[in-house]
Structures are given as structure tokens and as C-alpha cells.
């Protein structure tokens, strides 16, 4: 993984074996993290079984649970696809939070005016475009700096993220502040003007947009020339130049698309769930999804179940934490554990030969005077 996107190993094992080994590789870190999480719970004097029970009930089983989960899933799928597109090209777009919050602010801020001027479908589409343009636009400066001067995009996207979040707050507290509330927030758009929902549920059509982005993302990345170019750039930037790819163009466009997808996620969230936006609001999907995207080995399809898992954690986590008297940050710790276990799971390799020598390799690698 040192030159960009992680490799997508293909083993010679039979298809069935390959599927199970992939499942194991993905589930392993998750289960390990849950186990360590249980330990921490015990140390904090809570009952892990009760906690996890509450978690899964509130997040998945109850009616409000699974509806809430699917609603939560919509923006996650879009953000996840946005990350995958960038990471496959070896571009570390870490500024997801800033892109999300700023796009949300624009969408929420402009929504009252837009929705009262045009028809509902036109308005929704327009606002979605606004979200995409803002999200994509916010990546342009880091993209250009990377493409032209090779400036590390981890720093630049992160800086832009902080700036974006503060800018969003300024806008909400300033020009778009609604006069009707004491707490700073934008004007609200009535439910009837928001994204339509599936009959009888709280699930809005944003989930369809999310699933579509996953499918299109998968298709473009795996079956299309555009995706192949991205992959080449991510796997070996020098080979990309050698192959005659327009590297600068690919960098800028990929960044823009990544940001646009994240901006669309913000639009979907605002227009599907809230209808307005409070100042200082930041759901913080970005950093957490980062782990899941890698766990899915940058495959849009594999990301879906993992994002769903995260959604369950989120929806159920609030409830479970509340019941156990814990802060929600415990969930963040769980996710951090998943990420660290993921890094360890890389060691497990993919081929049987590598796994056979695992113990010897582990010992050998730990020896500072080692050699391959």
C-alpha cells in the first residue's frame, strides 16, 4: 500500500474459498474490535452483552431502527463512493467532513428561497447540483496544488476541511440565518417540499441515489476505461506517465468527482431528513467512513454491507450509549480499533503460501536486524 491504493490481490484459490477468505478478512478486524470494545466496556464497569444487545436492537431490529439505518445509509453510500473514487487513484481526499458540511450549508441556506420559487422536483434537482458543485469546488485548490506542484494532498484537503467547516458556520450565523429561531440555523423547508419518502416509512428516496452511485461507481471503476486509468495512477504514478495518461487532468477531475459525491451526500441528507441546518453541526462521517472504505478494499460493492454496519452502530450506538451512561465517543473508539486491526490484518496476506509462513514471517519481521 505504500504507493497509493492497496493492491487487489487475486488468489488461485477456488471461487468459494476465495469468497470465504475475503469475508474472513473483512470480518476479522471487526470482530476483533468488538472483542476489545467489550473489554473496555468491562473496564468501565458496563455489561458488554447488554450494550451490544441495545445496540443491535435499536439499530437494526426495531422499526425505527432499520428505517433509521437505511436513512442513515444513504449519505454514507455516497460519501463512501466518493472516497473510493479518490483513493483508487491514490489521492487521499481527507477533507470529506469540510466538503460535506459546507455543501450542506449551501443547500440548507439556499433551500428556502429555491423551494419557494420553483416546483418541487426542479428545486430538489437544483439544490442537489448546488451540493455537488460546492463539494467538488472545495477540492479544487488541493487538487490543483497536487497536480501542478505535487503538494501533499493529505494536508491540503484537511486544511480546507477545517476552513470549510468554519466558513459554513459563518454563513449559517450570517447571511442565511433564520430570524425565527434563537439557536443559529437556516430557514426551514417544510416536509412536503423535501425528498419524497417511501409510503409509511421515514425512508426517503436518497437511498436510491446512494445505491445508484455505488452501482455506477463499481461499473466505472471495474469495467470502464476511466476507472482503469484511475487504478493505474493509484497503483503506479510513474507508469501512468509512461502510459501516456493525462495525469494532471485525472487528478483534478477525480478530486472534483470525489468532492461532488460528498456534496451530493450532504444535499441528500439535508433534503431528505432535515430541511434546515444548525450552526456547528457536523455529523463527522468522513473520518469514520475512511476505515470502512479500506476494510472494503476500495470496492464499492463490498462497502455496502460495511456502511450498513456502521449505520447500525450509529443509530443504535446513541441509544445504547445513553442507556449505559456512556459518551457516544465510545463508538469512535470502536471504529479506531477497527482501523488499527485492519492494518494488522494486512499482514495476513491473501495467498495460502503467505499464510503458511505467517508465524515465521511475524517473528522475522519483528527482528530489527531482519532481512527478507
Amino acid at each position: 500500500m505504500s504507493d497509493g491504493a492497496p493492491s487487489r490481490p487475486e488468489s488461485a484459490a477456488p471461487r468459494g474459498g476465495r469468497f470465504w477468505s475475503r469475508m474472513l478478512r473483512a470480518l476479522g478486524p471487526v470482530l476483533a474490535a468488538l472483542a476489545v470494545g467489550a473489554l473496555i466496556l468491562l473496564l468501565l464497569g458496563r455489561d458488554p452483552l447488554v450494550f451490544y444487545g441495545d445496540l443491535f436492537r435499536a439499530g437494526l431490529v426495531s422499526a425505527s431502527g432499520w428505517q433509521g439505518m437505511i436513512t442513515r445509509l444513504a449519505p454514507l453510500l455516497l460519501i463512501g463512493t466518493g472516497f473510493i473514487v479518490a483513493f483508487r487513484a491514490g489521492l487521499w481526499n481527507i477533507g470529506g467532513d469540510g466538503q460535506f458540511v459546507l455543501s450542506a450549508a449551501f443547500v440548507a441556506g439556499l433551500a428556502p428561497a429555491v423551494m419557494s420559487s420553483v416546483s418541487r422536483p426542479t428545486g430538489l434537482v437544483l439544490l442537489a447540483l448546488v451540493g455537488m458543485v460546492v463539494g467538488g469546488g472545495w477540492t479544487l485548490l488541493p487538487a490543483l496544488l497536487k497536480a501542478w506542484y505535487g503538494i501533499n494532498e493529505i494536508i491540503t484537503t484537511l486544511m480546507m476541511s477545517f476552513i470549510g467547516i468554519n466558513l459554513a458556520n459563518l454563513l449559517i450565523k450570517g447571511p442565511w440565518r433564520s430570524a425565527e429561531t434563537t439557536v443559529p440555523q437556516t430557514g426551514a423547508v417544510p416536509l412536503s417540499d423535501l425528498l419524497p419518502r417511501f409510503g409509511g416509512t421515514t425512508i426517503h428516496v436518497g437511498i436510491v441515489v446512494g445505491m445508484l452511485s455505488v452501482l455506477v461507481g463499481w461499473y466505472v471503476l471495474d469495467r470502464h476505461a476511466v476507472g482503469l486509468r484511475l487504478t493505474i495512477l493509484g497503483a503506479n504514478p510513474r507508469a501512468a506517465v509512461h502510459a501516456g495518461l493525462h495525469v494532471k487532468r485525472i487528478i483534478v477531475v477525480t478530486f472534483f468527482v470525489s468532492g461532488a459525491l460528498i456534496g451530493l451526500a450532504a444535499a441528500v441528507e439535508i433534503l431528505g431528513v432535515w430541511g434546515y441546518m444548525r450552526a456547528d453541526w457536523n455529523p463527522g462521517f468522513g473520518l469514520a467512513l475512511f476505515a470502512l472504505v479500506f476494510l472494503a478494499r476500495l470496492s464499492p460493492l463490498a462497502m455496502v454491507p460495511l456502511a450498513a454496519f456502521y449505520a447500525v452502530l450509529e443509530i443504535g450506538g446513541h441509544e445504547a450509549a445513553r442507556r449505559s451512561g456512556l459518551d457516544y465517543d465510545f463508538i469512535l473508539v470502536l471504529i479506531a480499533l477497527v482501523l488499527l486491526f485492519l492494518a494488522v490484518s494486512q499482514l495476513l496476506g491473501s495467498s495460502r503460501d503467505e499464510r503458511r509462513g505467517l508465524a515465521t514471517r511475524l517473528v522475522a519481521r519483528l527482528n530489527p536486524r531482519r532481512q527478507p
Binding site: Y149, D329, V344
Partner: protein, 311 residues
């Protein structure tokens, strides 16, 4: 406008710059050492948060700010050894590990603080200033620069120490070789892994110290996510410093200035919206990068794990 040039404002500005810049100095030096050896220390934010939390608790329960500093260093060493194990010894991807450290630092410290103190935020007493006789009488500079607690002078001394280490010791030579051409170091019979391991530990220790300073001296309190991006600014400072500790000092003070300008303005009664205040340092970073980063120097082997025998 004449108030902008008043002694009050300038003193507040310089004091604030030092207060805000010193954590950057420690973290920046730590980052510098790591980068020179070829380690991309993305997780600095995590080091600082863990150091801040440990430092705060150390000062609170230990009764002295120095105990707090020590605890910060220890916390930094602890997380540094985890990073050392994963990134250096096992050769796992430095970016993934780094971001994991950030998340861990954020989540863990926030969680532990909530468990420990709930919604209350106990404050620490101020650290004692050490006014230097005679020099502390100079207007503006006297009250700000020359009336700093001992830890400030320790920081300045650290700059010279790091500079000396890099240039005039075997360890510094090995470090720079590990960052620029690890194959050369290996062929010369020195363990690249060992050198980088030490570098990561130093990096963690200094990052933890920076965080401890932030909580114990600058703020006097611990709040979740209190570093607020300081770790990343430290990375940028180290990047732009191009291997020179003196530049880390300069960069820290300049960014410290950005961080403290708003508070200083409030002292003379100018009210600036907090959101702009928070934005300033990051805007400054973007400007610095856009203007100067073409000339930033990063060691050739940065971010690439070392494997002997690989061409």
C-alpha cells in the same frame, strides 16, 4: 487604530503567539525528527491529544506542571511505540496507521475525559513565570518574551539540541541517511529499522510534550478535541522547515501569531467572530503551502517502508 500599536496589544500578541506556538514547536520538532528519518507522521494530532490528556491529569493529580509535562512525554512514547511496531517494524501503511492514531487519540481522550469529569472542566493553576532580571523591563518584549515560565526556555534549548543532534552526532547522520537513502545506511551496517524506531519514539515523545504544554500551560484545562488541527499545522511547519530546527521555531511563532491574533484583538476590544478566528491558522497554512511549498524539501524515502534486498 493606534490601539493596534499599543503596548497592551503587542504584548498580548507576542505572549499569545508564544503560548500558542510552543506546542507547535515541540510537535514540529518531533515531526521534523520523524520526517528526516523517512517516517510520515500523519498521526501527530493523536500524539498531541493523548499527551494533552495525560499531561492534564498529571498536573492535576501530581500537583505540578512538570509532572504534567512528564506524563505527556510518557503518553507520547506509549503511542509512539505502537506506531513504531506497526509502521516501522511491520512495515504497514503509514497513512492508515497514522489516521488510526488520530481517531484513537480523539475518541479515547474524549471518552476518558467524559467518564472522568462528566461535564465539568477542572482548571489548573497558572504556571509560574520566570521574569529575567533587567530584560523583563523592556516594553512589550519584557513582559512577553522575557517573562516566560521555564518550560519556554527548555523549548528554545530543545531547538539547539535538535540542531546539534542532527548535524554533529552519529545518530543524526544515521537519521538523515535513513530518510534520504536507507539502502546506503543498511549497506554501511546500521539498522534502518532501529534508527527509524528511535525517530518515531522521539517524535511521539515530543508530540506528547507539545500536547501536555497545550493543556497544562496554554489552556490550563482539557477539552475534547482541543488540539483542533494543531498536529497538522505541526506537520506543515516541519515540511516547510526543510530539515532545519531553527525554521521550526520561526514557523511555530508565525503560526502561533495567527492563532493568537484574535485573542489579542479581543484584549483591546475588537470583536472578531470565533469562526474567523478558528479559520485563520488553516488559511495561513494554505497560503504558506501555495506560496512556498514548491521549495519544501522532503526526504526521498519518506513514507516508504524499508526492506533489505529490495531494489
Amino acid at each position: 487604530m493606534s490601539e493596534l500599536l499599543s503596548a497592551t496589544f503587542l504584548t498580548a500578541l507576542v505572549s499569545g503567539a508564544i503560548l500558542a506556538g510552543l506546542p507547535l514547536l515541540f510537535a514540529g520538532l518531533g515531526e521534523l525528527v520523524g520526517e528526516q528519518s523517512g517516517i510520515l507522521g500523519i498521526g501527530m494530532e493523536g500524539y498531541m491529544l493523548l499527551g494533552a490528556y495525560a499531561g492534564f491529569n498529571g498536573a492535576l493529580y501530581g500537583g505540578s506542571p512538570w509532572v504534567g509535562m512528564l506524563c505527556g512525554v510518557v503518553a507520547g512514547l506509549a503511542i509512539g511505540s505502537v506506531v513504531m511496531l506497526l509502521s516501522v517494524r511491520l512495515g504497514l501503511d503509514q497513512v492508515v496507521v497514522g489516521i488510526g492514531v488520530i481517531l484513537l487519540g480523539e475518541g479515547l481522550t474524549s471518552l476518558l475525559h467524559a467518564v472522568q469529569f462528566g461535564a465539568s472542566y477542572p482548571r489548573l493553576g497558572e504556571m509560574n513565570d520566570l521574569p529575567i532580571p533587567l530584560l523583563s523591563r523592556i516594553p512589550v518584549l519584557g513582559e512577553s518574551v522575557f517573562s516566560q515560565p521555564l518550560i519556554f526556555w527548555a523549548g528554545i534549548a530543545l531547538v539547539f539540541m535538535v540542531r546539534w543532534m542532527l548535524r554533529s552526532t552519529r545518530w543524526g547522520l544515521d537519521l538523515r541517511a535513513a530518510g534520504e537513502k536507507p539502502r546506503a545506511l543498511d549497506a554501511a551496517g546500521v539498522s534502518v529499522i532501529a534508527v527509524r524506531s528511535w525517530a518515531v519514539l522521539v517524535s511521539g515523545a515530543l508530540g506528547g510534550l507539545g500536547g501536555a504544554y497545550l493543556a497544562v500551560v496554554s489552556a490550563g484545562v482539557f477539552v475534547a478535541y482541543m488540539t483542533n488541527g494543531l498536529g497538522f499545522i505541526a506537520i506543515v511547519v516541519a515540511m516547510l522547515a526543510r530539515g532545519r530546527p531553527g525554521w521550526v521555531l520561526g514557523g511555530s511563532l508565525i503560526f502561533g501569531l495567527c492563532l493568537s491574533v484574535a485573542t489579542a484583538l479581543q484584549v483591546i476590544g475588537v470583536d472578531v467572530p470565533t469562526d474567523i478566528v478558528y479559520m485563520l491558522p488553516f488559511l495561513a497554512v494554505m497560503v504558506a503551502l501555495a506560496a512556498f511549498a514548491r521549495r519544501s524539501y522532503l526526504p526521498a524515502a519518506l513514507g516508504v517502508p524499508y526492506g533489505r534486498g529490495e531494489r
